[in-house]
């Protein structure tokens, strides 16, 4: 992604009579301006060496992180933590709360996030958007489709179900489609979700370690 701030201020600096940017500084500067961050890759060996479940979360064309499962609540909410203390809370693969992202979210009342009975899936939800702070009403619809082969980091699995969730904030004329791939045990293995109107889609791959 092009860093606009850099593209427009850097020439201004070069116009200056006393500008000075050393080579060692300039190379990463321009690299950062024109290249996207690298994708995170997990090998089977690395997966086998891990003692806790983890997710690989990556924004489209943006930074990614491996986040480790740090807590399983009685109500089925999983807490995932990154190396720099960002937190993602999921229930059945749906992100219901985040802390430390550029734009956080918190769903208010997440109890209905259960894929087992799509006909009872609530059609209205409240979401608390952060930066800037606003409370919004979401219209939600869910569509269940048959799954197909799903390529994850180092394996290909058969997804038994594919869920398409459409979320819409009427007031903002904003809508997004979230996709969930479930395995035959009903566990979400991969999802692409747009969490916030100001964030690009987030891809999450789930790697479960059962001790």
């Amino acid at each position: 992604m092009i860093n606009l701030k850099l593209v427009f201020i850097a020439p201004l600096i070069f116009l200056g009579s006393c500008s000075f940017v050393s080579f060692s500084d300039a190379i990463p500067l321009f690299k950062a301006a024109v290249l996207s961050p690298p994708k995170i890759e997990i090998s089977e060996e690395e997966f086998n060496s891990r003692t806790y479940s983890f997710i690989v979360a990556q924004f489209e064309d943006g930074p990614g992180a491996i986040m480790t499962l740090s807590n399983v609540a009685d109500n089925g909410v999983l807490e995932w933590v990154s190396a720099d203390s960002q937190l993602i809370y999921t229930r059945n693969g749906k992100v219901i709360s985040t802390y430390g992202l550029q734009h956080d979210i918190q769903y208010l009342g997440w109890a209905g996030f259960n894929w087992e009975d799509p006909s009872n899936y609530p059609t209205k939800r409240l979401i608390n958007l952060r930066n800037p702070d606003a409370l919004a009403e979401l219209n939600v619809s869910l569509q269940v489709m048959p799954g197909s082969d799903l390529v994850l980091q180092f394996e290909t699995i058969a997804a038994s179900k594919l869920l398409k969730e459409t979320i819409k904030i009427e007031l903002l004329k904003w809508q997004a489609e979230n996709t969930y791939w479930l395995n035959d045990q009903g566990l979400t293995r991969k999802t692409i979700q747009t969490l916030h109107p100001k964030l690009p889609p987030l891809t999450i791959e789930f790697f479960y370690v059962f001790n």
Partner: protein, 727 residues
């Protein structure tokens, strides 16, 4: 009977009872609320100015093509109540000169300053009110003064104002004329008797007066786009060269007259900072452009996550091993500080107090550097040590010592409570005896440092062409013979330039101390030495710093001299003295000199206001061309390290002797380059501009100014970033 809606009820209850949720969905409906630029330098509707301001520490660039005018402006906000812009306007209905050999076919270029100040901030009922002036100290062809008020109502930002000069298109009686008859008359362009570049204050708010109005209407859910409508206040009979040759002998065609008083425009923000714009002005002219602004007053927020303190691995093991053995402690801290670009210079352990003296070239914030040192010490030093005395050094001199109670440092670390920590810390500047330190790392003198960098020299806005520049490979080297004796060298090998067409010769009647710039640029294009300067630093008493220097100081002068500075640690005042005996360098910028030789020297007075971080610098003495007088420089520093400033000089030469521009003036900003990076770096990129560089009021440019070197020998400069101590 009304139906019960549990979701709506929950929403209402949440809004009523939750203090935490400040719900404003409008921030999403109108995602870009930052004010937008007009067709002139500053924020405005289309042709009319507005009373809006960006936040302090914002830098902006605004470019517009509007009929015969093509205008590029650099805009700065040293305060959130003050806007300053400098622009070049390319005027297509006039030539730069009548002499083709002098300026080719170049169109007329106009340079101007605009300024605007907020008088009243917007309240619930009160509008925001500002007063401003266009084309200050320029030729005056866009000269205008105005008072303008803005009020935001829902998604509409309304503005209404009164203008003078070129903003007097919709005429009313000048209300100030009732105060004095002098407000009735405006002498106008070219009649002030100035050489251009002078402030024609007598004309301000005088003569014809007019009203203007406009509105910026924010469109919902369209990425912050706005429609702008205005009742144009421009007096097109006065702006630029409206009648062609009848208005100005260099103009060759008249400007299209307006068909309408109403202008309409559209702004599309690619982001909150970058706006594309288009408009129809005068009912017959299409204009378009873009603007970009960036707030750079605070630290780069990205670095907080990408360049954190790296904890020492196996720190507990180091603690155990070095327990009771001072040499092991010293070796441990030497390694772990050096690994983090914090260079240990000396250390001593006495009575549970660990004293370290270090140097660093990574962190702009002195508190952050000290905090990083303290964290390493806390991690690896045995628990018996209860106090850290951390001294920072530069040019072989201790500049400050921060004494940290270790227990307090640990206590407030998790909460990053820097305020509570501050109560248990002393900041001082004792003069140390280096012999008091038991541990001194081996340094082999002479030590050699160098780096290579691309370098650009620019010459903007001359008659030969708008832009001339070169790109060269610059080598910067420093040899340390002792901690306080160094040779600073800077040279460059030319890569590419467009100097062939640059031929403007100096017309100055003063010694050509600066105006032979064309000769210097052209004859040094293959390679040159910018500087070969030997410096010796000494601190004879606690508050006095001195420097002796000799060699090639700058592209045009070399010689010898000294600088001395009295700077008490807890004072906002400093006073310095400098004397230089210099000879002018040959134009090839190698080792030869030409005949001109002079003595120059100044008394420098500094006052830094700690709350606003305003630095006043007054320089009085004899300048390079032999003229005597003062140079006044006012600048503001922000937390990020950004400095925005402006200066002017007055010396004992007449306006005629000075030449075009009447007196020396200009502005500058220094931007920390870490703003663009993922890690901390101390580098600064500077941008400075004088509308015209003449020979009067020019002073020697030498490296390692004492006021800069001793920046951290002042308690206020450490306190200003104290909240970085745990960063």
């Amino acid at each position: 009977m009304k139906r019960y809606h549990p979701l709506r009820t929950a929403l209402v209850l949440l809004l009523v009872f939750s203090n935490d949720i400040k719900s404003d969905i409008n921030d999403y409906i109108y995602p870009s609320k930052s004010p937008s630029f007009g067709n002139f330098g500053g924020l405005g509707v289309i042709q009319n100015p507005s009373a809006r301001f960006h936040d302090e520490g914002t830098l902006a660039f605004n470019w517009i093509q509007n009929g015969v005018y093509r205008r590029g402006s650099i805009v700065m906000y040293p305060f959130n109540w003050f806007e300053f812009s400098y622009q070049y306007t390319d005027i297509d209905n006039a030539q730069y000169s009548l002499i083709k050999e002098f300026s080719g076919g170049q169109s007329y270029k106009d340079k101007s300053f605009d300024a605007k100040a907020k008088i009243i901030s917007e309240g619930r009922l009160m509008p925001e009110i500002a007063v401003g002036a266009r084309d200050l100290a320029g030729t005056g062809i866009f000269g205008a003064e105005y008072v303008v008020a803005n009020k935001r109502i829902s998604n509409v930002d309304l503005s209404v104002g009164m203008g003078w000069g070129t903003l007097s298109g919709n005429k009313i009686k000048n209300p100030l004329a009732s105060l004095s008859d002098s407000f009735d008359r405006r002498t106008g362009v070219g009649s002030s008797g100035t050489m251009g570049g002078d402030f024609n204050i007598g004309d301000f708010f005088s003569g014809e007066t007019g009203l203007f109005a406009g509105a910026e209407i924010f469109i919902p859910n369209l990425n912050g786009s706005r429609v702008k409508i205005e009742y144009d206040g421009t007096n097109y009979e006065k702006e630029g060269f409206p009648l062609g040759r009848e208005s100005f002998n260099l103009a060759f065609k008249p400007i299209r007259k307006p068909d309408s008083k109403f202008n309409i425009g559209f702004i599309y923000p690619l982001s909150d900072n970058f706006h594309l714009k288009a408009s129809i002005t005068k009912g017959n002219t299409f204009s378009f452009g873009f603007s970009f602004h960036a707030g750079v007053k605070g630290s780069n927020p990205k670095i907080k996550n990408t360049d954190k303190h790296e904890p020492v691995s196996n720190a507990e093991a180091f603690k155990k091993i070095s327990k009771g053995n001072d040499t092991y402690i010293y070796r441990s801290i030497l390694k772990h500080l050096n690994d983090r670009n914090l260079y240990l210079q000396k250390a001593n352990i006495d009575n549970n107090v660990l004293e370290v003296q270090y140097a660093q070239d990574k962190y702009i914030s002195y508190a952050r550097a000290t905090g990083r040192v303290a964290r390493v010490l806390d991690e690896v030093v045995p628990d018996e040590i209860d106090t850290f005395k951390i001294a920072n050094t530069n040019a072989g001199t201790n500049l400050n010592t921060i004494t940290i109670d270790r227990q307090s440092f640990q206590l407030y670390e998790s909460s990053k409570d820097h305020n509570s920590l501050r109560r248990n810390i002393t900041i001082s500047n004792p003069k140390y005896n280096p012999k008091n330190y038991k541990f001194v790392p081996d340094v082999e003198f002479p030590a050699f440092f160098w780096k290579a960098a691309p370098s650009v020299r620019s010459q903007i806005g001359g008659p030969d062409g708008f832009y001339f520049g070169d790109l060269s490979l610059a080598i910067h080297a420093e040899i340390l013979f002792k901690y306080n004796l160094s040779l600073v060298t800077s040279g460059a090998i030319g890569i590419v330039d467009n100097f062939d067409e640059l031929k403007l010769a100096s017309d100055s009647i003063l010694p050509h101390v600066r105006t032979d710039i064309v000769k210097y640029l052209k004859q040094s294009r293959k390679g040159h030495f910018k500087r070969i300067q030997l410096n010796w630093f000494h601190r004879p008493t606690k508050n006095i710093y001195t420097k002796l220097s000799a060699g090639i100081f700058e592209p045009m002068f070399g010689g010898y001299g000294f600088e001395s500075l009295y700077r008490p640690f807890n004072s906002t005042f400093a006073i310095g003295l400098e004397y230089w005996n210099v000879k002018q360098r040959d134009y090839d910028q190698m080792f030869k000199f030409i005949d001109y030789e002079t003595e120059t020297g100044h008394i420098n007075i500094f006052y830094e206001e700690p709350y606003s971080q305003l630095l006043f610098r007054l320089k009085g003495g004899r300048f390079l061309a032999g003229d005597s007088g003062i140079n006044f420089d006012l600048s503001r520093r922000f937390k990020s390290g950004l400095r925005i400033g402006a200066f002017f000089s007055k010396t004992d030469i007449s306006k005629e002797e000075f030449g075009e521009g009447s007196f020396d003036k200009g502005f500058y900003f220094y931007l920390p380059i870490e703003f663009f990076f993922d890690s901390h770096t101390k580098g600064i990129a500077g941008f400075g501009l004088r509308p015209l560089t003449r020979d009067g009021a020019q002073f020697l440019v030498h490296s390692h100014h004492l006021y800069g070197i001793t920046d951290q020998a002042n308690s206020y400069n450490i306190e200003r970033n104290w909240d970085d101590i745990y960063d």
